[in-house]
């Protein structure tokens, strides 16, 4: 990644309410794979980074199975939009909107995320 050298001490931050909450160093995010983060209120977020360096964060919980595993899913692009596929039964979720691409009625929480 071209971003890597000059961003080594950048932190990934999530917006919770009105504050930015630091999660980890940017370098911990491998392009194409996710990590799970524990939030102060006990919820979990799944954070991803794509090849171009964009960051995404969604709720870590797979709404179909209930397990907190979305951070371990495979990512990709579908019609130009980034998504993660659940490792359980493979449903895909749009990383920007949280919309499930395989079931219109399901949408997961997304978080604003930045490297700072």
């Amino acid at each position: 990644m071209t971003l890597a050298p000059e961003t080594t001490d950048l932190k990934v931050e999530l917006r919770l309410n009105d504050d930015w909450f630091a999660i980890c160093e940017l370098a911990r995010l491998l392009p194409g794979r996710g990590v799970a983060a524990l939030l102060p209120d006990g919820r979990q977020a799944a954070l991803f980074r794509d090849r171009a360096g964009n960051l995404y964060a969604v709720d870590n919980r797979d709404p179909f199975g209930g397990a907190a595993v979305l951070s371990r899913g495979l990512t990709g692009t579908h019609q130009g939009r980034p998504f993660v596929a659940s490792p359980l039964l493979k449903q895909r979720f749009d990383l920007e909107t949280g919309q499930c691409l395989d079931d219109e009625s399901v949408r997961i929480t997304t978080y604003a995320v930045r490297a700072a």
Binding site: L16, N17, I23, C24, R28, L30, P31, G32, R33, V35, A36, A37, L38, D41, G42, R43, Q44, L47, D50, R51, D59, R61, P63, G65, G66, A67, A68, V69, R72, G73, L74, T75, G76, T77, H78, Q79, G80, P82, A85, P87, L88, K90, R92, T97, G98, R107, I108, T109, T110
Partner: protein, 867 residues
């Protein structure tokens, strides 16, 4: 990277003397047979550069650089651990001590010595033959010297009007010199063409502005006071003024090294070898290429027979059967502007043969076909227009489907027929340099999904040497594609328009070893440069892993980019369960386990509180491990000698066994040992879908081998191999592929079968569905893997050999890599806090997932409404 076998006394060494075209092909043939993995290979190369395309030498003058001409991929040399000493020729061979001494003073012990020293240009013993301005035409260095010298001169002469002489003369003309050709015989290219052809050729050559002097010999080179060439005296008493002389009066085998160490050489030179290319004097020494006197009494001065000799020697050294019985001397002159070709029995030497001749001196055309009494095409000569060369050469030896004369008449002249190569029989040789038949080229299109000539060239090697067959190749590819009908989008996914099989071929042929490279070069337009998708990433990850050692990728699936491609389970080297915990399945080859092994597994399961179960695959599964516990559990398993069982991978699962001959009163072979051998051989092999196997010790079939992808059943005289079996939702009984095999035969066939499946199956296609889908089904698979109808078995075997040689347990690698271990945490910001959703409740004295915990996510939290 292939580990170079340590140069211990135990490693047999093959020393190759001469790194020319044939030497290089020999190295490739060795590598294809996996011999480079088991042998130390030393190459002594006299020239200052490794092997290059001598056939295309003259193209240097049309802009090709020495680098363009190179035939040596240094990565190939490195990957196969070949020791290549450039600029260091062999100077002596001691056959008794089996040692070769190089000019640098290095001494190499050999088990097998292969001489591929080529030829040297013959320079007639005329006075002043070594004067300044006299050259030969054989190496890149010769060309560089000629080019340099010609810069300040105006006239050049070539001694010799054969194939090479004409090429050299064309080159001199290209350098801006007034050029002469002096040929002792009464016509040009006396070996290839007859009188009529020579006359037509003469006219064309003269029209190009070259002066031809036939029927005269060179008697003396005339020099000035400084010793530089000024002209030459000819046998008819005349003198020809020239500044530069290139001798091209034929070549002689370079057999001095062989003579010096007492090897038998022919009367007119050439190291005498048998049909296996082994020297008749010493079973440890082989000779191939232009330095060899073949068993048919000929020294071949063309590259195609040399290649065949290289393959023969490599096969023989690898203890395979092969023989070189002779070759045909078809040639097509590549000299710009003149088309000259001769093939088969060009001079009509066969008894009772007839000629069909078409000649038009004005147009410089001459075409002759030699026909047998029964209409068989025996050979021919084409001058001025060699369009039909490829087709005619391929028809040689058969009765063409149309009248021969119609094949040589110019277009528009009444009976002329454009006989396309589609009319050729499947076994017609299209590329004689590489001995590729039409059937193989068609199969490249139909079975290997090649859609362009470059793909077919890579796939079959056809067209990669002299290039004269490329036109026919193109016609065949187009015809085959058309015959296969309308194009449908068979693409793997939204990112790739190619099928998995095509991607496999691309990755293998071009040695592409990253997903991004493949996507950016071969992805669909909108997908290039993007992130790919969940379908192609694991599929390509699997292809890269299957071919890792061959394409120079890491054999560790979590290395670098590969980690991001793996399916979620492969990424954590474990199977995810419904609550986000994992199961752990150590490999238990053949289902055989010691009491100590059972105790270790028991202790680990107890210490980590895991649920334990015997699986349907004859091993033990431990459930309920948290992601952060996986490394701790595996550290203990690896310490106790266990390896990953790949329960998570599209790869070999288990090879089940029955107890077999050792204990069972009915058993006829040791089924447990064979099951263990097979499991250890194929462990870690990534494939389109999972692979399962079983070995039964007799026909009672307690191991259920006939429900496996490859199943083995013992017989009194060996093993029966069944393929394409499946349990699961759509069970299928396996088909018998071959019977009564020895251990070695069995393994060879399985190697081929699995690699052919990996190469051609779709993603997530088990062997059962693959076998039903592919055209020709079981019969085709049998043709390919048993009869080697596509000629790919060597490659399939060597791919498997490479896999076996590079296998390493991925869990052992992972627990020793702190960076990889950092991924096995519950939370990146709270690595020590277990996932609160993963909990367990008791059941039958063990644990099971606490499912109600999974519903906690439904609790809406204040302040973060869903968008």
């Amino acid at each position: 990277m292939t580990a170079t076998p340590e140069a211990t006394e135990a490693t047999p060494t093959i020393v190759l003397v001469g790194h020319g075209m044939v030497g290089q092909r020999f190295l490739e043939a060795l590598a294809e047979r996996g011999m480079t993995a088991t042998h130390r290979v030393v190459v002594l190369c006299e020239e200052p550069r490794p092997a290059y395309d001598r056939v295309a030498l003259t193209s240097y003058f049309s802009g090709k650089t020495p680098e363009d001409l190179s035939m040596t991929d240094m990565e190939f040399i490195e990957t196969h651990g070949i020791e290549l000493y450039v600029g260091d020729p062999a100077v002596a061979v001691d056959r008794e001590a089996k040692k070769v001494t190089a000019r640098s003073g290095q001494v190499f012990d050999y088990e097998t010595l292969v001489l591929a020293t080529g030829s040297y240009p013959f320079v007639p013993p005329v006075p002043n033959k070594d004067a300044q301005g006299c050259f030969v035409y054989r190496t890149i260095e010769d060309l560089l010297a000629i080019e340099e010298y010609a810069k300040t001169r105006t006239t050049g002469a070539v001694v010799g009007g054969g194939l090479l002489g004409l090429e050299a003369a064309g080159a001199l003309k290209g350098l801006g010199l007034t050029s002469h050709i002096v040929e002792f015989a009464p016509r040009l290219m006396p070996v290839q063409v007859d009188e009529g052809g020579g006359a037509a050729l003469l006219r064309t050559i003269e029209e190009m502005g070259l002066s031809v002097h036939t029927g005269v010999g060179t008697q003396e080179i005339v020099v000035d006071a400084e010793g530089a060439v000024t002209g030459m005296k000819l046998s008819d008493g005349s003198e020809l003024a020239t500044d530069l002389v290139v001798f091209s009066a034929g070549v002689r085998p370079r057999d001095q090294l062989a003579r010096d160490c007492g090897l038998t050489v022919g009367e007119r030179g050439g190291i005498t070898v048998d049909e296996q290319c082994r020297t008749v004097s010493d079973p440890h020494v082989f000779a191939i290429g232009e330095c060899a006197l073949a068993s048919d009494g000929r020294v071949y001065g063309l590259v195609a027979p040399g290649y065949e000799q290289a393959e023969t020697a490599a096969a023989t050294i690898a203890s395979d059967e092969a023989a070189f019985l002779g070759a045909d001397l078809s040639t097509k002159l590549k000299l710009l502007g003149v088309d000259v070709a001769s093939f088969g029995d060009a001079h009509g030497a066969t008894a009772d043969c007839l000629d069909v001749v078409y000649s038009d001196s004005r147009a410089g055309l001459y075409k002759k076909l030699v026909i047998g009494r029964d209409g068989t095409l025996l050979g021919g000569i084409l001058v001025g227009d060699a369009e039909a060369y490829g087709t005619l050469k391929a028809f040689t030896g058969s009765v063409p489907p149309v009248k021969p004369e119609s094949l040589v008449l110019p277009a528009g002249a009444g009976e002329s027929v454009q006989l396309g190569p589609t009319a050729l029989p499947d076994d017609a040789i299209i590329c004689s340099c590489n001995n590729v038949r039409k059937g193989t080229i068609r199969a490249a299109v139909t079975d290997h999904q090649c859609t362009t000539v470059p793909e077919v060239k890579k796939c079959t090697k056809a067209g990669t040497t002299c290039g004269s067959c490329v036109k026919v190749l193109g016609q065949l590819v187009t015809a085959e594609l058309e015959a296969s009908g309308v194009e449908v989008d068979k693409g793997l996914c939204g990112c790739f328009s190619q099928t998995r099989e095509e991607l496999y071929e691309i990755v293998l042929a071009l040695r592409i070893n990253t997903y991004q490279d493949l996507l950016d070069r071969y992805g669909r337009d909108g997908a290039k440069g993007g992130d790919g998708c969940e379908i192609c990433k694991p599929a390509v990850g699997s292809i890269i892993a299957s071919l890792a050692p061959t394409i120079g990728a890491s054999n560790y699936v979590l290395d670098g980019e590969q980690a991001s491609l793996q399916d979620s389970n492969d990424h954590f080297l474990a199977n995810i369960q419904k609550n986000g915990s994992y199961s752990v399945v150590p490999r238990i080859p053949g289902g055989e386990i010691t009491p100590e092994g059972l105790i270790v597994i028991g202790e680990i399961a107890r210490d980590f509180g895991l649920y334990t179960k015997i699986t349907g695959g004859q091993r033990i599964d431990m459930f309920g491990a948290r992601v952060e516990q996986l490394p701790l559990i595996w550290t203990r398993l690896v310490d106790a000698g266990f390896e990953s069982g790949h329960a998570y991978g599209k790869s070999l699962r288990t090879v089940k066994s029955c107890v077999g001959q050792t204990w069972c009163r009915y058993g006829v072979q040791d089924s447990v040992r064979m099951a263990i051998d097979l499991e250890l051989r194929y462990r870690g092999l990534r494939s389109p879908h999972k692979l399962k196997s079983a070995v039964s010790g007799c026909a009672r079939e307690c191991a259920e081998a006939q429900s496996k992808d490859f199943g083995v059943i013992a017989t009194a005289s060996g093993w029966n191999l069944y393929v394409g079996g499946n349990g699961g939702a759509t069970p299928r009984h396996a088909d018998l592929l071959a019977q009564d095999l020895s251990d070695a035969e069995l393994i060879k066939l399985i190697d081929r079968f699995l690699m052919f499946y990996i190469r051609t199956a779709d993603r997530l296609e088990r062997t059962s569905t693959w076998l039903e889908r592919i055209p020709g089904g079981l019969d085709h698979v049998r043709d390919v893997v048993v009869e080697d109808s596509l000629g790919i078995c060597e490659e399939l075997e060597s791919l498997m050999t490479a896999h076996v040689a590079h296998y390493a347990d991925e869990w052992a690698t992972t627990i020793n890599d702190p960076e990889k271990l950092a991924r096995f945490v519950s939370f990146v910001n709270a690595p020590d806090t277990p996932d609160p959703v993963v909990g367990f409740v008791p059941e039958r004295e063990q644990i099971k997932p606490d499912l109600p915990l999974l519903t906690i996510g439904h609790r809406p939290l204040e302040g973060s409404a869903q968008r």
